[in-house]
Every structure is written in C-alpha cells, then in structure tokens.
Symmetry: C2
Subunit: 769 residues, 2 copies
C-alpha cells in the first residue's frame, strides 16, 4: 500500500513531487473522455522513470501470438490497443535550457485532479541548473462535450528570468513499443506536416489498417495579450508542431493554449482524416478556451447529477467512490456498441485494452442501476454483434452445432488470449453474459432485448453447455471437467461449483425465456428458431436432464459448497499464514505453489452466492463466506466488492467496510502493488455496487426493488440514486433512518426491510430502522 | 504413417526421389558421431522445401524466455542447441548451370544409409535444363574414429557434357534462425578465410561465448588422377571454401574428397581454435580417405559386435532395431559427463538439444544392459554435477533445506522450460534419477557410485518430496497436489498414482541406501552427512510417515490404480472412438479437449508397473494394462516400448509385437507425423528394451538375472547380448528354445523360466521352453 496522496472529497492531490511514485501518479492522474485518454504524463520532457501512454478507443493492433510452446487452438493474433502518438507534448525552453523535472530543482509541486470538473492541474515552482526560476501552471483535459478534443493550457511565469521563453507544442509519433515481446513497429506515418496555424499527422496501424489523425492548433498570450507570433513550424517525420515564444522579464507570464484534435477511422472517413482534424482544430481554436471548458464542465455536471454518491463522515471513502465513478466515465461513454471497456481503460497497455468478462460482472450492473441512459443495451449489443465469432470460436475448440463460447479476451470478437488454462478453460465467462441479459430484463422490466437479440445469445450458450458437460458414471451425474473458475489460482480443475451452478442457471433461464418468448411473441420465436435452427423438442430434453442431474460439490459437514473437486484436500489456512513480504503471492510465489495452496485469487463460490443471492438463505451465505473469505487474497480487482457486498448482507459490517475501502481505493492506495501499470477501470464500479447492493441491500425480487439498508458505524449518511423501470429513486441512509425520494417516473412500491413503501414523485418517504 | 523407404536389414534406402518427403528423408538420413551431426541435407543447393541442420555437441545458445503471460518462477533463458555453420556444402557447376534437384530432371535417384558402416550414400543421374546429363555419387560420413572429422566424397561423371565442371566445397555460416520466436543472431563470426590449401572459420555463440572452429581441406581427382589444381579461394564474410574444377568430356569422372574439421571450445583452447582445426584438416588430408574410412568402419564394427540384435524372419523389425541403435550411437558416445542426449539428437532443433528425463527412462537402462562401457556413470555424473543447480531450482520454487528439483529441461543444470504445467509440475522426473542410480547399482553389483555421489542426489530429492507432499485432513493421508504425471495430457492433477508411488519408492530406497552406506562405509556416510547437513534422526521420521501413509488412488471395483484423482469421472472410451483423421490428437484438438478426454499421451500408471514390476503380480499388470492401454494414444515416443514390454509380460504377444514395431519404426514409418522435424533419438533404445525386457523378459531379481523368453510367432530367432556384473551373455531365442552363452566373465547363474542355469564362458546352454 502507498498513501502519499491527500484525502479530499472532490480532488486527487499530490503535494510535493514524488518522483519515486511517478509511474503510479501517471496512472492516477489519467484523463480521458471515452474516445481517447492518456496517462498523467508531464507535457514537457522528463528524463527519469516514467511510463508515457496515450490511447485512442477502438483502434486495435494485431500482434502475432508469440508463445514458446504452441498449443493447438491458440489464436493467431493477440489484439491490443497500442500507444498512440503523444499528442500533448509541450517543451519549455529558455535560451539554452529546457525544463526537465528530473534535472531542475523542484521548489514546490502540486498535482490536482479535479473530479467534479474533469480537469488535471499542475502547479510548480522550479529552478534551472543556471538558477532561472519559473512558476508553471498546467491545465489538461479530455473534453467530455467535444469528444475529439484535448485541451492543454501551459502557463509560465518568470520569477527571475530575463530572455527568450519558447513553448513547443508537439504531436510526437515516436512511440517505442513497450512490449518486451516484440519490437514490431505499430504505426505507419502516412502524412505529417504543418500549415501556418495547424500541425497535423495521419497514422495507420499495421495489419488492421485503422487510421488515427491528429491536428494541433494553439494560442499564445503574454501577460493576457495575444502574442503576434510567427511560430516556427516543426515538420519532422514523426513529430509535428510549433515553436513559439516571447521575450520575458521577471513577473511576465506566457500562456500557451493547445487545441488538439484526435480523430480515428472508426468515426471519420480515413482518406480525409487530416482535413477533418484540421477543420476541427481551427474551429476549436476559434470557439476558444472558455467556451470549450464550460461545455466540458457542463457535461461532467450532468454525469455527477445522475451518478454521484455522497458519503458524509468519511472523506477517504467519499474520495474513493468518486474516483471510481470518475475514471469509469473517463473511459467509457456508453454510446457506441462497437466499443467496450478495457480493464485498464486508457491508463495502461496491460490486458491490451480488450474486453473481458469484467464488463458484464461489474460494469453492466452499475450502469443498469445507476443511469437512465441506455448504456447497457450497447454493451449487450457488443456481444450480440460478436455472436457469430463466438460460434466460430466454440467450433474451433471442437464444439459445433451453433454453440457459442464467447472469448475470454477480445476486441473484434475473436479470442486473442493465449494461456490455455484461461483461453480454453475459463469458460464460466459464457454465463455472465446470460446473466447480464437477464438482469437487464429485470431492471428494465422489458423482454424487448431478449426477443430482439438476447435469446439468440442464450440459445447458443446453452448449446455450448449441453456439449461441454459430460456424464460421470461413478457419480451418475453431469460433471464439467477441466475448467478454470473465477479463481484463476486453480487451473484445470473439475467441477468448479460456480461454473456448474451458473451453467444450470444459464440453461434454466434460457428455457424460461424460450417459453416466455414462444408464448408472448410467437412470430419472433418462429424467426429465432428459423435463424438458429433451434428445435426445442430435440434439444431441450438434454438441457433439462443436465439441470436435474448436475453435480454440485457440497460438504455436508461444513454445510458449504466446495469450490472444486479436491479443494478440501488442500492445507486449509488463512491468508494470515502467508509470510510477511510475500504478498501479493502472484508476485512472489511460483505458479505451482499458488495452485496447490488453498489461496483464492477472487470470489469464486462466493461469486455464485452474490449473483444468485436470492437462491440462498443468509446462513448458507454466512457459512460459505466464513469458510472462503479468510483464504481469499483478493489479487483480482474483481474480488473485494463481491466479498464486501456479501459481508454486508450477513451483517459483518466491519469486514464489509474494509473490503469496500479496498475496492474503492484499490488504485489510490495501491493495494495490489501495480497501480504503476494503470488503473483497474473495469472493477471500479464495484465500489458503487457495494453502496447500492451491499450497504443499501438493493436487489430485485419478484419485480420489486428491495432494500435493507445498513450503514458503516462511523458514517453519518450516504446518498445515491438508483434508476430502474423508468424511475429514479434517491436513497439516503443515515444511522437512524432511510429516506427515499422518487425523482423521476410513475409511482412505484419499494420494499424497505420487507415493508412496501409507495413512492410518489417528489415526496420523501422516511423509514426508521 | 509413411512407407516409402525400402526394407533392408542393414540399410535405409530411398529409391526414386521423394521430394514431397524431403524433410522426413533429411531426418532419416542424418549422420553424426556424438560430437557433431547433421541432417541428411543435399550437399549442393536445393531450392525447394528442405530443412537444413548441422549441430555441434555441447554448444548451447541462450535464448531469452519469451512468453506473452509471465508466470513467477519462469526461467530467464531458454537454452537450445543452435544450428551451426553448414560445413558440408558442395556446389556443382557447369559452365552456366548449377545442380539443383528442384530444377533439374532427376532420371534416377537412390539414397542409402549403410548402418553397418555408418556411411550415407547418394547415387543419381540428372539432366540440366540445357540437357547436360551427369551421374553423381556421394559418400558422407561423420567419422566415429576421428571425432572432429566429417568426410564427404562427391563424384561426378559426365554422361554427355563437355566443358568446365567446377566443384565448390564450402563452410557457410549464413544460418538463419529457424525459430519463429526470435530473429536473434546466434553466431558472431570471429575469423574466416582460406590459405591455399585450407579454408577456416571461427564462430562464437552470443551470451554463452562458446566457440566453434571449422577447417576444410580437399583433394580433386579426374579419372583417378589428382588434378594439379590451383583452386579459387572463397573468402566471404560468412562463407569460406574453394572453387576447383576440371575440363571434362563424356565419360570423364571428377571426384572431390572434402576433409572437414569441426572443433569447439568444449575440447580445445578457443584462441587457437583455427590453428587446431587447420592442423587437423591438413593431417586428415594427408592420412587420406581410405585410411580414415577404414578407421571409421572399424569403430562401427566394434559397436555392432557388442550391441547388434539379430532378428531372423522379420526384415522390417531387423531394420528398425538396427536403425534405433545406429542413431543413438550417432548422437552419443558416452565418454563425456558434460554431454547428454537431446531428444532429437543432431537431427532437429525441437526440444533445443536439451536433457530430458528421457535419458534416465530410456537410455540409461539400454546402456546399462547393452554395453560394458561405463557410459551410464557419465550420465549419472551429468546429473550429479548439476545437483547444486537443482537445489537452487527447488529453492526458487519455494522448497529449501537442501532439497533438489532437477529441471525438466536443461543444458547447464538450470531449468530452461517455460510451460508452468511442465516446468513446475512435472516433478516425477526427480524419481527416475533415483531409479537410474539404483538400477546402476543393481546391474553393476556395486554401491561405489552411490557412496561416491549417488546418495547425495537421493538425499536432496527425498528432502524435496518431504516438503512437496501435503497432508489431507479428509483422507488422513499424504497427497501430492497439482502435478503433471508422465501423461502430459493431464495437467495440474492431484495424486497422480505414478508420482505418488515413485515418491514412496524414492524415499524408501534412499532410506535403504542410508542404512547400507552408514553400515558398510561409515566414513563416507559421515562425509556425506557433513556435506549435506543431513541428520537422519531429524529428517527421516517424516519420510517414514509419508511412506506409510501415502495416498495411492485405487479402484476396488476394477482392481486398478487410478491415474489421478477424478480420472474415472471422464468419459472412458478407447482410442477407436477418435474420429478418423483426428490423430495424433495433439495436432487436431484444442488443449482443453485433450485434457478432459480420457486419452493418455504415454504410459503413466503403466510406467510405474514397468519400473517397479517385481512389486506387482502379473494379474495386477494385466488388469491395469487392459484398462489403460486402449485409451493410450502413444503421442509421446516414450510410450510404445513400455506398453510393449508389459504386453509381452502378460502374454499379449500380438499387442507387444505391434507396439514394438511402433517403437522401433516410429521414425522410419513416421507414426506420429513429425519425423520431418527430426528423429526421436532418446526413445530409440526403447526398442532394444522391448527385446531384452519384453520378449526375453530380462530383469534383475534378488541379484540374479531372470529371463522368461517369448518370441513373436512369425520370428525364427532373435539374438542379442546383455552385459551386467562384468559378464557378457549372449541370448538367442528361437521358437523352440533359448540358448545362452557366457562370452565374457566369471561363471554365473541365470534363471530361465524360474530355473537357474549355470553359465561358464564359452559353453552354450540351451533351455527348451
């Protein structure tokens, strides 16, 4: 853990320069707007340890799969989002010196990420080796209202320097690939140059032929007045921009406003990409800084108005929950079914910016409950649009007949991961996609999506399971052999309880949906059967038999579900038994040692109890929680929030709170010693889920929203809104009572502690615990 | 399977050019002498599909480990034997044409590998695009008597051509790395040039700084008379040699004899390597072809006199058994404890030329029984010399206290493989090393090696097991979790019966040896205890407890050992159920499908029954064989001979014979569709073991060699010699009787069908069945 950032309810603040944590700070201070994003790198050159990264949504690069020992079935390519051109570089030069925080004295330094406004600030006083002192103020934002626009203001005040001061805004495509695996060139530079007012560049990813265009325009002011500059154009092969300056004396301030456009062939015609970018950059410059920033602030205000969670009495928790919401919205706008959410968003290259089951597990329930926007439809459509490739994927693994196995890791729909124990065996991922479809129907109260698209996905996945299970003669039950469950510290195991259980749920809900659709929308049902070749009489008897006779490992003595066959043969001990200094174990132990230990990476059995919670009584949850939680190391960011929610639901509030803090401050406090590589973006909504589902106990049961709010003992109050079935309900929980307000929509009943409360728009209803 | 080679008892013959099988032929016609070796490539350029390869023993290259997803514990480097300079190139040029079998008409073509002499011959008549016809005769050998010397005779007769005919012998280091993973340069060329009579080159592997030097001298004759040639020297950066020629008319024959020296820094001072090579090349040239070839023939004669197996009545079997012996001796001389045997010898790059457990499993028992040379001592010393690194290796995986885990794959003693399920989990490999030590003591009748070195290895391995097992509360027994057994189609399983059983054997034999050494050689025992910090009173109680309470999965109903936990839950079916065209399954099925199938790559439970055969009655062997054999796909070359031996021992002679043929003709008939990549050298002695241990039933029981010979029904007779305890016994088995002759050594008793026969040197003893 690292705790060098200041606690503040709306800001992330680094006071004093922590060069030793520069990579972590660069992750933390990342900015983005869903179309592009970048790590919180310094604009000016920095000659010490740093990890620069700029990323453009939906522009993947196909890397050849490189493994020493090929296994049949491995994908040909590993897709990944490459680092793009570094579009926001600004060099600051004096007569014969150039600012570099690794070389200059840093007299004062503050970095601040304003989450309400979505602006990163940097303020510092620095002294050059020759004794020239400057005050520098930087503002940097990825415009939420103008999705192609990045804005940087770089303001320099001379404290004791007299002479020429030059600022050089640049777009640099001299990207060296950080992957150790390959030195392969990512970008072809098709066009690069500068007009008198606008620098531009067009780049192309190899293999994929995706294009990204950039344009850079700027204004320069001295002491508040436009400098009638005649900038030097910089037109190198891999760097374009300007050098502009002014003569200064102590007290003078020079301000550069950079208007940077980033556009890709995902949204614009590739052949005219440069013209498009230049036109947009000129327009931005003419609209001017104030107007563009005002639009940006307004966009963020709208997000916060809908999504903010207010926690009174715990500034650390308050900061944490806002940070997670902020970073998720910086990564994903929810308006394009071609995009998904990379585990590290635009903050790092790990996981390649690809789509994982994280999306359905963690982001879908957040968006479903927290916003009235149709974001989840886009996320569901993303999978639906890839169904054909999921069918191809299953066929390549020997399972045909229209069965689908959605990839573990993908960008275009093709599997791109290459660890057999994950790629081929972590097949439970199929079920969370079905679960997401069902949750969507529950929360919207509509089967429209199921009818239009969802049922096809469910059929294909159910067909997969029908072939993937096998029948054990000794057990006289169906078994699922050779899988990796959610706990990735247990590979190639048999009968992972979660996988088996969620398989049964998948088959069961598919059968129910078949009945419902056949009944209510017979024409659609006929269309679906025709399109998929589905024959219920032929196919479903086996499904029903699997549902009836699935083996679900259970320990009678302890009254717990067994994570997988053989689990109880392990030496069972708590994480306390791990020697100091050996956590996270994945950074210290060899893989075999991890595998044969009892330690669980992330919620596994408990994930099943969370997802299908109304299937289990509280005592069952408690027994399993008390058995598995002590052995869970939470080395997946997907873990703490699940445990926190269950802990709250069994009344272990202290545990729930500490796990909530782990979830919500995972990156801010660097629990897993890897924030330097980027943020855990797709897990971030988990902390909102702890508030809604854990502390407030929100769940849909029989078409009714049920709450049973709790509050951590030292909190005064927490307030958030849920959106479902065309209603918005504000929920405010204090130690004494819970107040509900229907902000939008028709009257509706909500159960609080089992009692139905009728809500009418605008009227507060308070329930005393 | 491919059957285009002719059957012959002493020769491998390809009649007619099979360009479509060129890579396979290049493997099959490989030549070597234990110090260097090469694939059966054409000397002249060949512009169609081909896989060239020349290899020098003990000169590894360190490749950086390249995996997409790093697991803690992976080794930094993958060691591999790189392709060396191509030392035996000979270009044949006419005025403006150059021989290339892919471009010229091949009127007749015969390749022949004479196994008795160790010479590869090629004879062909070819016609150039311009209609020039030539007869070419080539002889190629890696000299067994002069271990640095390669000899090539290239003889060309003009059939209708008149004009200049040039021959260009070359050493070419223009080696492009065939690994797809890396384009890294392997060789630095430190020196390259030519004196008037000798071309030379010195090369260096990067990282390792191992040097290889080459020198090439030659003679040229026309119609039997030396040509007073003044050759053109070729001194390119990466190719050195000569161009020499003669004017010919139809009927004239030009013969080039190339004398090629290959020396490495393993044996010679690196700084003077070029001088050494040149001196040796000149000396060879002066000794002359006839003398050098005669020495070579004599060396092979001595090998065959000791090791030949004569099978009467089955030329295919005869050819196969000789081929396996021949290729093993081409790869390994047994005279240097720094060398071991790469799975593909000098015939391919797969497996990197590294040491696998293949050596102890298959080569050690062959050398132990088949020769009086002290080859096995060198193989055991190889491991002993790497003990410290095996201790480091165990420590890196979290198991300290002087425990050793010998690497799965190694050259220098450091693990170099990077598949977690193999590298970290295929730990049974430790036990075969102990088994080899014990077998050596049994066959030599001496504990000298155990006292000098073996016990230290055994202690370190036993210490490993004492920590690697764990105690299962539900079973109240010791278990070994998370392993890959010999069946590599079952990864990360619990309680692999073979691993658990051989662990117990390891601990038990170590305890016995401790007692014996402490008793018979107390001073040595004290020295060993001091050197290893071994304290029997502290350490051995746990070992005894493990021996007493090891869990050994057993199925009461079937009366079989269970390969690993959960095996019986699989869908059990015979290999017959695999659809046609899907074998070998590792070339057709994705890894997960293989893992969850019942199919077994190679002998696993059956390996235990083979290695510890006298622990089990024949009925137990039969039940297990009949259960496991039908599910075994034999996709490891280590498999068929084990099954063949057991099949013979339970009286299933037909099965034994077909498995023997699979073992002995694995490469000649390309059973596994991969001979093109190289030969299965380390498995080759398995076919000799089928003769000795399977058909003849040879085993040591209570210090006595026991035989119970069988003979496949269509064989007339088979004859071979066994060497043990300073005796050589010739065993000749016909359908009617078995004749034993003590060729060397003091009188000794041998049990045949349970009856002791006293053998005296020179006297034949015949036992009628």
């Amino acid at each position: 853990m690292k705790r060098y950032l200041k606690t503040d309810e709306w800001n992330i603040i680094e006071e004093g320069f922590h060069a030793e944590h520069q990579r972590m700070s660069e992750s933390i201070f990342s900015v983005g707007n869903g179309r592009f994003g970048q790590r919180g790198n310094f604009e000016e050159p920095y000659s010490s340890d740093s990890y620069r990264g700029t990323f453009v949504a939906g522009v993947p690069f196909l890397d050849k799969t490189r493994v020493a020992w090929w296994k049949n079935g491995y994908p040909t390519y590993y897709t990944r989002i490459p680092r793009a051109a570094d579009w926001s570089r600004i060099h600051l030069r004096l007569i014969d010196e150039e600012l570099d925080l690794a070389q200059w004295d840093v007299n004062s330094f503050t970095r601040r990420l304003d989450m309400r406004e979505g602006i990163a600030y940097r303020d510092m006083e620095v002294t050059s080796p020759r004794g020239n002192s400057l005050r520098v103020h930087v503002e940097h934002l990825a415009n939420m209202a103008h999705p192609d626009l990045c804005l940087v203001k770089y303001s320099v005040t001379s404290l004791n320097y007299t002479g020429r001061l030059s600022l050089m805004p640049l777009v640099e495509a001299n990207v060296t690939d950080c992957s150790e695996l390959t030195k392969e060139k990512v970008w072809n530079i098709l066009d690069a140059g500068a007009t008198p007012d606008c620098a531009y560049m067009r780049t192309q990813t190899r293999h994929e032929d995706a294009h990204v265009g950039y344009a850079l325009s700027f204004r320069l002011q001295k002491n508040g007045k436009e400098v009638a500059h005649n900038p030097i154009r910089i037109e190198k092969e891999k760097a374009v921009g300007f050098s502009a300056g002014a003569d200064v004396k102590p007290g003078d301030t020079v301000v550069l406003q950079a208007y940077i456009i980033i556009v890709s062939s995902l949204y614009y015609e590739r052949t005219t990409l440069v013209d498009t970018a230049i036109g947009k950059a000129r327009k931005a410059r003419s609209l001017g800084w104030e107007r563009l920033v005002a639009d940006h602030r307004q966009a963020w205000k709208e997000i916060w108005d809908e999504t903010d969670v207010v926690i009174e009495g715990d500034p650390e928790a308050q900061q944490g929950i806002r940070y997670t919401i902020f970073q998720l919205y910086q990564t994903y706008r929810g308006d394009d079914p071609r995009l998904n959410i990379g585990p590290k968003g635009f903050t790092g290259e790990k996981y390649g910016g690809n789509t994982y089951w994280n999306t359905e597990l963690c982001c879908v329930p957040f968006f479903l409950l927290s916003t009235s926007k149709k974001i989840v439809e886009n996320l569901l459509m993303y999978r639906y649009n890839q169904l054909d490739k999921a069918i191809d994927n299953a066929r390549a693994l020997g399972i045909g007949g229209g069965a689908a196995l959605f990839p573990q890791v993908t960008s275009s729909g093709e599997e791109c991961h290459n660890e057999w124990e994950i790629t081929f065996e972590e097949i439970h991922r199929n079920n969370i996609i079905v679960n997401a479809i069902i949750q969507h129907a529950q929360l919207t109260g509509s089967i429209d999506y199921i009818v239009a698209h969802g049922l096809e996905v469910m059929l294909a996945i159910s067909r997969y399971w029908a072939q993937r299970v096998s029948f054990s003669q000794p057990k006289q039950q169906y078994v699922i052999l050779g899988v990796t469950g959610p706990d990735e510290y247990a590979n190639n195991v048999d009968n992972n309880w979660y996988t088996n259980y969620s398989c049964v749920q998948c088959l069961q809900t598919t059968l129910q949906c078949i009945e419902t659709v056949a009944d209510l929308r017979p024409d659609d049902y006929a269309r679906i059967c025709h399109a998929t070749g589905f024959d219920a009489r032929r196919e479903t008897p086996l499904w029903r038999d699997i549902i009836d006779r699935m083996y679900l490992p259970y320990d009678e003595e302890r009254g717990i579900f067994i994570q997988n066959d053989g689990f109880l043969d392990k030496t069972l001990q708590s994480v306390e038994a791990i020697p100091a200094g050996e956590r996270p174990i994945n950074q210290h132990w060899s893989w075999d040692r991890i595998l044969r230990s009892c330690y669980i990476k992330q919620a596994d059995v408990l994930l099943g109890l969370y997802l299908y919670r109304h299937h289990f009584d509280t005592e069952t949850v408690r027994r399993n929680f008390q058995f598995y939680e002590p052995m869970t190391v939470h080395e997946s960011s997907l873990s703490p929030h699940i445990h926190a929610i269950l802990a709250a639901r069994i009344g272990e509030l202290d545990k729930a709170y500490s796990l909530f803090m782990r979830a919500t401050r995972l990156d801010l406090d660097d629990y897993n010693n890897e924030t330097d590589q980027g943020l855990h973006v797709t897990s971030m909504p988990g902390s909102w889920l702890v508030i809604a589902r854990g502390f407030a106990g929100a769940q849909m049961v029989d078409d009714c929203l049920c709450l049973s709010p709790l509050i951590p003992p030292h909190w005064e109050r927490y307030t958030f809104c849920v959106n479902y079935r065309q209603r918005t309900v504000r929920i405010s929980v204090s130690r004494e009572s819970t107040t509900l307000t229907l902000l939008q929509g028709e009257p509706i009943g909500v159960k609080v502690y089992g009692q139905v409360q009728e809500l009418v728009k605008g009227e507060e209803v308070t329930v005393v615990k």
